[in-house]
């Protein structure tokens, strides 16, 4: 059993353990979850330290590390040939940082769930199941395996939002579920189409292996997604473009992009704090990861054609999310919209198809991963105390909760892109890369970069405005004296969670090489893979 | 037409006729006595089939046993039952129930049809027996033969039927005994 399998299935073990323990030991569930996640985090740290920076990843199996390949399902389908599904996992420069991020965010989420009392058994076992699925998604290199993890992820989330959420939780849970399912169901069609178009050069059988799908030589001539002799069209869209679009939409819902983002504010607002943390910290990244790992790598030709639109969507998401955030009165919703805006940078950077842009986008994913997690956690702090997050109900928190305000200010400034924090590196390089795109000739015009930078301005506007409205000025609460006693400053547990997160943001902002070194070779490989079709 | 045939027809008519009367009569007592005649004529018909011992048994068991049992049961039952059974009111002959009649006639037709078909195609054992002449003739000592058969070939059924008869009698006695006053 390899390290990756261990990493993926450790949480499953925790789930089993939690389910088996009798309810009288319910106090131990969170410790079990915490223990397993800590082990997982250490394991991911070990992977990080053992990672070979020179490996190129993306489309070559030898570019991946910690590979594990086991035949999983082998079925003779008669005239349809041999069904070949592998348990095939590995990491490269794109997935490794996300893997570490996931382990970290999971740790935060467990910490944030410390005070959950409602049926802890179900809660923690679902959380661990989610953990497994997420790890699996980032490691899977077999499309079928990927899809299974992708769907498995939905189920615990649905219950976590639907059971432990806020007042409108059912609506939010169903909306989230349907939205994601909408994307993934069509993804399944494309997976099947790809399966029948691609053969494994060694066995001659059709395959779900993503790496084989990335090699044009493995496509059967004249098959639905073939590079050569492909005359298939659906509604006038060439088949490969269609495949790209459908996969893109599936992942774009997760990112989320602007017209498909409406699940996000609802889900975030209704979800309990830890789930918001996971949603913002990991789930949104799956979208970006999928676009890079699947859309761009398997359909580089279509990606090269479509990237103007992707850039446009990214730019629109940035501005639109920021403008919406400006209009929010609910702190959590504000942060949810800011996520839309910040994830727009990811799309813009990826679309730029420059090494700087894509690296910036990946960095932005990492940075947004723990910054948004920290922000949601911070919202959770006051929501836990007074069950209110309406911005105008608070005033002058700075004098009342100085440490909390300190954390909030750091998190706000970090996420509005103050240099020295990680978000700055991500956003700056997305903009630099996007601006550079016109010189390189990837079809992204410069005004998109400028639009993106206006988004940075707007993000400063809404975050500072919030800071001014909620934290500065004379102390005044809607709940009066009662709130004043309830609103105690951050406690040790919260400090333990927040401090490393923000310290990490600072560390990565000062030493971005910690992430860039791991991904450079991979990103360059991706750029060269796609740019040959430009 | 010789005497034998004439007698056969006479018995047959008597049997069928009395049976019809048994059915049609409303008075149970009368019907019982008419049934007595039917059984007698049936016994007569048995003779024509060269089954003298069966005929005797028929008379002894049925006429001497069953019928007497019935009449006694009838006579010895209490007054209300008697009145019920007599049921003298209404016509002398009850009108036939048309559905039942239809059914009975249907069966009759089917049986006749079967008979007609059957005549053209007798079973093998009969044909071979006819051919080899193993047919009971009026001169045969039936009783002797039956006795041997009962004690050899059919000893097991004979014993079973004896026990069965015993059980039936005990059962009947048990059923018809006066209920214990609680």
């Amino acid at each position: 059993m390899g390290l990756l399998s261990l990493l993926i299935f450790l949480p499953l073990l925790a789930t089993v353990l939690i389910l088996l323990l009798p309810a009288t030991l319910r106090q131990s569930y969170k410790y079990i979850a915490l223990g397993f996640t800590v082990v997982q985090f250490v394991l991911s740290g070990w992977l990080y330290s053992q990672f070979d920076n020179a490996a190129t990843g993306i489309n070559q199996a030898n570019g991946f590390q910690f590979l594990e390949q086991l035949p999983w399902i082998r079925l003779d389908l008669g005239s349809l040939g041999q069904l070949e599904i592998d348990y095939f996992v590995g990491v490269d420069g794109v997935s490794l940082p996300l893997l570490v991020l996931s382990a970290f965010v999971m740790l935060m989420a467990i910490g944030a769930s410390w005070n959950i009392t409602k049926s802890t058994k179900g809660y923690f076992s679902l959380l661990m199941l989610l953990n497994m699925a997420v790890m699996g998604i980032f490691c899977a290199l077999d499309f079928f395996l990927f899809y299974i993890f992708y769907e498995v992820m939905l189920l615990p989330l649905y219950f976590l939002i639907g059971i432990w959420g806020g007042t409108n939780r059912e609506y939010a849970a169903i909306k989230f579920f349907i939205y994601t399912l909408f994307g993934s169901v069509f993804m399944l069609l494309i997976i099947v189409g790809l399966y029948f178009s691609v053969v494994n050069p060694e066995t001659g059988a059709n395959t779900f292996n993503m790496l084989h799908m990335m090699n044009p030589n493995n496509y059967v001539d004249g098959s639905f997604f073939a590079y050569l002799n492909n005359y298939y069209e659906v509604l006038g869209i060439p088949a490969r473009m269609l495949g790209f679009i459908v996969l893109f939409i599936a992942f774009a819902i997760k990112v989320p992009i602007v017209p498909l983002h409406t699940w996000l504010p609802d889900a975030h607002v209704e979800a309990p704090t830890p789930v918001s943390i996971i949603l913002a910290g990991i789930l949104l990244k799956i979208g970006g990861y999928g676009i890079i790992r699947v859309c761009y790598s398997i359909f580089p030709d279509a990606a090269a054609d479509a990237n103007w639109w992707l850039g446009l969507i990214g730019a629109v998401s940035i501005l639109y999310g920021a403008l919406n955030a400006l209009a929010q009165k609910d702190l959590k919703r504000l942060i949810a919209y800011s996520s839309v805006s910040h994830m727009g940078f990811v799309l813009l950077g990826v679309a730029s198809l420059t090494a700087e842009g894509i690296s910036g986008a990946l960095f932005q994913m990492i940075s947004h991963g723990f910054l948004s997690a920290a922000l949601f956690f911070l919202v959770g702090v006051i929501y836990d105390r007074v069950h209110d997050r309406y911005i105008y109900n608070f005033r002058g928190l700075a004098t009342h909760m100085p440490a909390y305000t300190g954390f909030v200010a750091v998190a706000f400034f970090a996420s509005l892109g103050l240099p020295g924090f990680s978000a700055f590196i991500g956003e700056a390089f997305v903009i630099i890369g996007t601006f550079n795109a016109e010189s390189v000739g990837t079809g992204i015009p410069r005004w998109m970069a400028i639009a993106g930078s206006v988004g940075i301005l707007l993000s400063a506007a809404y975050l500072l405005w919030t800071l001014q409205r909620m934290f500065f000025g004379q102390t005044r609460f809607k709940g009066g004296e009662e709130w004043a006693t309830l609103l105690t400053d951050v406690n040790t547990r919260e400090r333990i969670i927040l401090f490393p997160t923000l310290a990490l943001a600072l560390l990565l902002g000062v030493m971005p090489s910690l992430v860039f070194d791991k991904m450079n070779a991979t990103v360059l490989n991706l750029v060269s893979l796609v740019s040959q079709y430009l | 037409m010789n005497l034998e045939v004439f007698l056969f027809y006479a018995f047959a008519v008597l049997a069928i006729g009395s049976a019809l009367l048994v059915v049609s009569l409303k008075n149970t007592a009368r019907a019982l006595f008419l049934f007595f005649i039917t059984l007698f004529s049936m016994a007569g018909l048995f003779l024509f089939a060269l089954a003298d011992f069966v005929a005797i048994t028929q008379i002894m068991v049925y006429v001497g046993g069953v019928l007497i049992l019935m009449i006694f049961a009838f006579m010895l039952s209490n007054k209300e039952l008697l009145a019920d059974l007599q049921n003298i009111s209404g016509s002398f002959i009850s009108l036939p129930n048309w559905q039942s009649l239809l059914l009975a006639l249907g069966f009759f037709a089917v049986i006749l049809l079967g008979l007609k078909e059957w005549n053209n195609d007798m079973p093998d054992w009969m044909l071979s027996n006819i051919k080899s002449g193993d047919i009971i003739s009026p001169n045969d000592n039936n009783i002797h033969q039956l006795g041997i058969k009962f004690m050899t070939q059919y000893v097991l059924p004979f014993e079973v039927i004896s026990i069965f008869l015993l059980m039936a009698l005990i059962g009947a006695a048990h059923l018809s005994r006066k209920e214990d006053t609680q």
Partner: protein, 101 residues
């Protein structure tokens, strides 16, 4: 010449009359009589066929068995009828409809 068919026709007549009695009569004792008629018709058949079986005498033997059975059944049947009357104060089967749905 009295053929087998003669017997069979008579037997058929008696059987059908018995059948009718069993179905149509509104009197338990008459139903019993109908049964006896049908049994007799059967016995007649046994006996008539027995003529062609000198080796086994099966027809006659079973005719005798049938007679015994009939006697037993009458005994039991009568006992039942008496009990039924004692219970329901009637022997009209139309009035005993415990089997109704």
């Amino acid at each position: 010449m009295i053929t087998l068919t003669h017997f069979l026709v008579v037997s058929a007549c008696i059987f059908c009359i018995g059948l009718y009695t069993v179905i149509a009569k509104r009197n338990a004792i008459m139903i019993l009589i109908g049964i006896e008629l049908m049994i007799n018709a059967a016995i007649l058949n046994f006996v008539a066929f027995s003529k062609y079986d000198k080796i086994n005498y099966g027809g006659q033997v079973f005719a005798l068995f049938a007679i015994v059975l009939a006697a037993a059944s009458v005994a039991v049947g009568l006992a039942i009828i008496l009990n039924v009357y004692r219970h329901y104060k009637t022997i009209n089967p139309d009035n005993i409809t415990d089997l109704r749905d």
